[in-house]
Every structure is written in C-alpha cells, then in structure tokens.
C-alpha cells in the first residue's frame, strides 16, 4: 500500500466570466512509506491545491486520491486521524493564549485525555526546543518561533503522513536549517512515516527529498530522484552569460528569437548587469546566442559553461526560474 496515491486527479476552479482553470490536471503520483517526497513548482502551479485535496479540505473535480489506503473523499475522518498539515506563514491558534495552552487545545481535538495532552505538549516543547517561549502569548512570537510552534502543532497526533507546504518560507538560514534537520529526524525516528513537502527552494528539495515531482500548470511534468532528474539534461550544456545593463525582458526576447526555451534572466541593479542562464544542446548554439546578442547591440561581458543542477532541469521543463533566489 502506498502512503499517498492519486489517480488521474484533477481540480478546476471557476474564474471570473465562468472561465475554468485547471489547478490540477490528471495527476498520478505514488508516494511510498518512509519517503520524503517533494513537490516543486512555480507560483500557482497547484501545489497547495494538491495538499488541500489530500488533507480533505477540498474535493477533487475528478479522479481519486488515497492516503494510507483511505479515500480522501469517502473516508475523510480516517484520513484526518493519520495526517497533519503545516504551512509556512500560517497563524493558527489563539493569539491571546500561550504557546503551551494553544498546543494543549489542539491535543484535545485529537481526543487525548487531559493528562496525556499536557504530556504531549511537554514532549513537543522539548523536541522543538521551545522552552524559552512556551509561556509566551502566541501574538508575541517572531516568525521563526511561530514556525516551530506550527510544526509542534503538526506533530500532535504523531501523523503517519505529514504535509508541509513551504515549511521554510520567510525564515532565516539558521531556523530553516534547523527545520530541515528536524524533517530528516522525523523520518529517521519512524520509518513508517511519510513527509510530503512543497518548496520554492531548489536546494532544499535536492537536499531533503528522496524523490521530487515537478508540477507546472497543474500537470506533473517530471518525477524522480534528484539524480534521475538531473540525468534528464546530462546531454545538454548549461551556460551562464553576463550582459552589461539592466534588461528585465532579455530572457523573453531570446525565447522569441527562437533560441532555447530554457532560459532565465536576472538583472542586478547594484552591479548593473543582467545574467542569463541557458540550457543549450551544443557549443555552436552558444556561439549563435552570443552572435545574436552582439548583433542586437548588447554588451556581452562573460560566458561560461556551468555544472547542470536541478534548477536547470526545471528551467528546461518549465522554461523559467522557480524563484527569484
């Protein structure tokens, strides 16, 4: 039995003027127990929608989804017993109550006895190192503290399947690192557990996940281990170019000119440079690009071949960057 299984799962939303948009389109994924499974995709790709369906908050338009064999539509209560969801930047709980009191409240929603509830709260405070702010009101916590509290809340029922929607969103390097360590620890502790996470950070996905699915406009466009995904572009060359001046639309213009669709551009105001990253099939093609740039009046400062990364797989499949990072 899979931890998570979706079969031809689709979800549409009505936009204004009755236009339908597909937030998910024929999604088929199978996540095994013990896996850390990552879902990567740009804004609006459908990541949160998928988590919401798996967490019984949203009904699919068509298709099926199972969590530990339970149908998310027909057996929602069974699913709710074994899952939990934590989203980056969420603020659930009651601001005027302390961290401890809030956590205790959530233990009661899972039917723990009052004593077991308090014991669980102590356990979680220790696990997440929250002793310093356990007695502080929720509305006085910093972003990092809140995210630890959120994770503690997400672990109250010892979920067999934990959904993390951008768990390190907006956190500083230290806290983000701490949370990634915790995620690995959670899997090590209980090999039956599964973690399903979405992220904007390519390096995070590469570092944490056993397997990654790349989602674009509601479709899964690639699925595999980070190594397998990187093999998808092992025959290709990745170039970095620097052009003098700020041209925010340069990537688009190169695409229009008929070069590789896998191009991203980023301008840096402080240095006054625009840097391009392109996935190309040959050195000749790179020469063509440089010729075109010079011919169009751009000043090319440097060009270098770089080691392909997961970012470039994404670039190739989606034709854009995942995040501004």
């Amino acid at each position: 039995m899979y931890s998570i299984e979706t079969i031809e799962l689709s979800r549409t939303f009505k936009r204004n003027k009755g236009r339908l948009i597909y937030a998910l389109r024929d999604v088929n994924i199978k996540v095994r127990k013990g896996e850390i499974f990552g879902l990567l995709g740009p804004n609006g790709a459908g990541k949160t929608t998928l988590i919401r369906i798996l967490a019984t908050l949203l009904l699919p338009t068509s298709g099926k989804a199972y969590v530990l064999g339970y149908d998310v539509v027909g057996e929602a209560n069974k699913v709710r017993e074994v899952i939990n969801v934590v989203s980056g930047g969420e603020r659930s709980g009651y601001g005027i109550m302390t961290v401890k009191e809030n956590l205790w409240y959530f233990t009661q929603l899972y039917g723990l006895s009052r004593r077991d509830g308090w014991r669980k709260v102590r356990e979680l405070i220790e696990l997440l190192g929250m002793e310093d702010f356990a007695d502080i009101r929720l509305n006085r916590l910093s972003t990092g503290m809140i995210q630890k509290y959120n994770l503690a809340r997400g672990l109250i029922n010892d979920p067999k399947v934990l959904f993390l929607d951008e768990p390190t969103l907006g956190l500083d390097v230290e806290v983000a690192k701490y949370i990634r360590r915790l995620i690995r620890k959670l899997i090590k502790e209980d090999p039956e557990r599964t973690i399903f996470l979405t992220t904007h950070y390519m390096a995070e996905a590469e570092e944490l996940c056993d397997r990654i699915a790349i989602i674009h406009k509601g479709r899964i466009v690639a699925l595999g281990s980070p190594e397998q995904l990187k093999k998808m572009i092992c025959d290709e060359l990745v170039y970095k170019l620097e052009v003098k001046g700020i041209y925010s639309k340069l990537g688009e213009r190169l695409k229009e000119a008929g070069f590789s669709k896998a191009v991203s551009s980023k301008s840096d105001i402080t240095t006054g440079l625009t840097s391009l990253r392109m996935v190309l099939s040959s050195e000749e093609e790179a020469e063509e690009v440089v010729k075109w740039l010079i011919g169009s009046g751009y000043k090319v400062i440097s060009i270098s071949k770089v080691e392909p990364s997961l970012e470039d797989v994404f670039l190739k499949l989606v034709g854009g960057k995942l995040s501004e990072e």
């Binding site: 019984t56 908050l57 709710r80 899952i83 939990n84 005027i96 109550m97 009191e101 039917g111 029922n157």
Partner: protein, 269 residues
C-alpha cells in the same frame, strides 16, 4: 459512535476553556461585559423609579436586562464565532482534525454562556440590592427549568446563525444589526408582549428568548408554577430539536460548500 460523542465533549470543553481563559485575560473585559450592560439596565430602572412605577416593574426590567444579555451573546458572540475562526485560519486547522464542528460550536456556546452568566448575575444582584427589585421565591423551580430550556434553544439558534454569518459574512452582519432593534422591541425587554396585537405576539414568540423571558417573569414576579407555564415549556421543548437539527444540517452544508468551492466565504456583498 460513543467515541465521537466523547471527542465532541472534549473539544467543547477545550474550546470553552480557550474562550473563558483567553477572553477574560485582559482586565478590560469587566468594563465591556459587566459595567456597561449594568448602566443600561440602571438607567431604565431609574426612569421607572422616578415615574413612581410599582416595584414589580423594576423586577421586570432586571429580568429583561439579564436575559437580553444572552441574546446579545448569541448574535454577536455565537454569530461571529465561525466567521472569526475562519478569518484567523483556525477553522481550516480545525477541519483537518477528526474533531466534529459541533464540538467547536458547543464549546463557544458554553464559553459565551459562562461569561454572559456573570453579566446576568451582576445585573440581577445590583437590581435586587440597589433598586430593591423583589422576586417571588416560589417561582424559582419553574424559572430555572424555563431558563435551561431557553438557553438550549437560544444557543441552538446561535449555531444556525453562526453558519449563516460564515457564508454570508457582511450581509449577515448587516442583517444582525438591522434585526437587533426590532428583536429587542419584540422580545419585550421593557414591557410585556401582551400589549402587542396577536399577530405580532405570535411572531415575537418564535424567538426562544421572548418565551423564556416571559416565562421567567411570570414565575419570578407573579409566582406561576410549572403547570401554569406548561405552554412555555412545551413550545421551548418543541423548538429545541428543530433548531438543533437545523444547526446540524447547516453545518454539514457549510462544510460541503467549503470543500466544493475551495473556500468558506463566497459572497462578498
């Protein structure tokens, strides 16, 4: 089934705990919850005293003031309960747990009732001591039974209102504001509803508060016993299952709509 009920009660207890402990953490609550309503009742009581109205009239006003606090709690506290939980993101977090929404609402009702009872008691206390309102002790058992029935009916109505407000948010509030005055008027806060024409009396009696208030006044001021008040008891007992059933249906409907549409509030009117 049994474990579902245990879970429901646990959730209700925990939510009431949050409501009472959190709600009373800031000392300013005493002003809003107790002092202001007391002032309102005191001003009417003074007016009656100056006009030289008989002592029963003061008791009448005190009971009215105490009971109307529950109505305010039902429309403003219960009515906004789910909406507020949604806005703070707590409703979603709640909905991914196995806990039943009925438990959440019950907990908020109990928490609200606790605070409101403090308010109602202080109104009765001050009314008795400062304004010398006098009550007939032989009516106490009947008054108590009617009070309990009224509370159950009233807060079941509150649960219905909570779902309605959640789905129609802003227009729901406006409706509550618009309805507040006529309901205070119809419920007979400061005078017996028997002064109204029959049709309006009937309309007024469809609100559990009106029946409850009238029953408690008759028992505590005029010493009516349960037999005298049988129609009050029967109508409240009929209202309870109807309102409770409605509340449950509305919750289920609201939950389904949320899952189909992908969010809880749709009509921003």
């Amino acid at each position: 089934m049994r474990s579902r009920i245990t879970l429901l009660l646990k959730v209700a207890y925990a939510r009431a705990y949050v409501r009472i402990k959190g709600g009373n953490r800031e000392p300013s609550w005493v002003v809003w919850e107790i002092l202001l309503p007391l002032l309102a009742v005191a001003s009417v009581a003074y007016t009656y005293m100056i006009l030289g109205a008989p002592r029963e009239y003061i008791g009448f006003v005190v009971i009215g003031g105490a009971m109307i606090s529950y109505w305010f709690n039902v429309i403003w506290g219960m009515g906004n309960a789910l909406y507020w939980e949604k806005e703070t993101g707590n409703l979603e977090t709640f909905m991914i747990t196995p806990a039943p929404l009925e438990g959440l609402l019950l907990g908020m009702a109990l928490g609200g009732m606790f605070n409101t009872t403090l308010r109602a008691l202080s109104i009765v206390l001050v009314g008795t001591m400062a304004f010398k309102a006098s009550f007939n002790p032989s009516g106490l058992p009947a008054a108590f039974l009617i009070f309990v029935l009224t509370m159950v009916a009233l807060y079941s109505l509150g649960m219905c209102i909570a779902s309605i407000f959640l789905m129609y948010s802003r227009s729901g509030w406006r409706a509550a504001e618009v309805l507040q005055e006529p309901i205070m008027f119809l419920s007979g806060l400061y005078y017996p509803i028997s002064i109204f024409p029959t049709l309006i009396q009937l309309l007024a009696s469809s609100i559990p508060l009106t029946i409850g208030m009238d029953g408690i006044r008759r028992s505590l001021l005029l010493g009516y016993n349960l037999y005298d008040l049988r129609f009050h008891v029967i109508s409240l007992s009929v209202m309870i299952p109807v309102l409770a059933y409605l509340a449950k249906r509305m919750l289920r409907y609201m939950e389904l709509r949320a899952k189909v549409e992908g969010r809880l509030t749709l009509r921003w009117m």
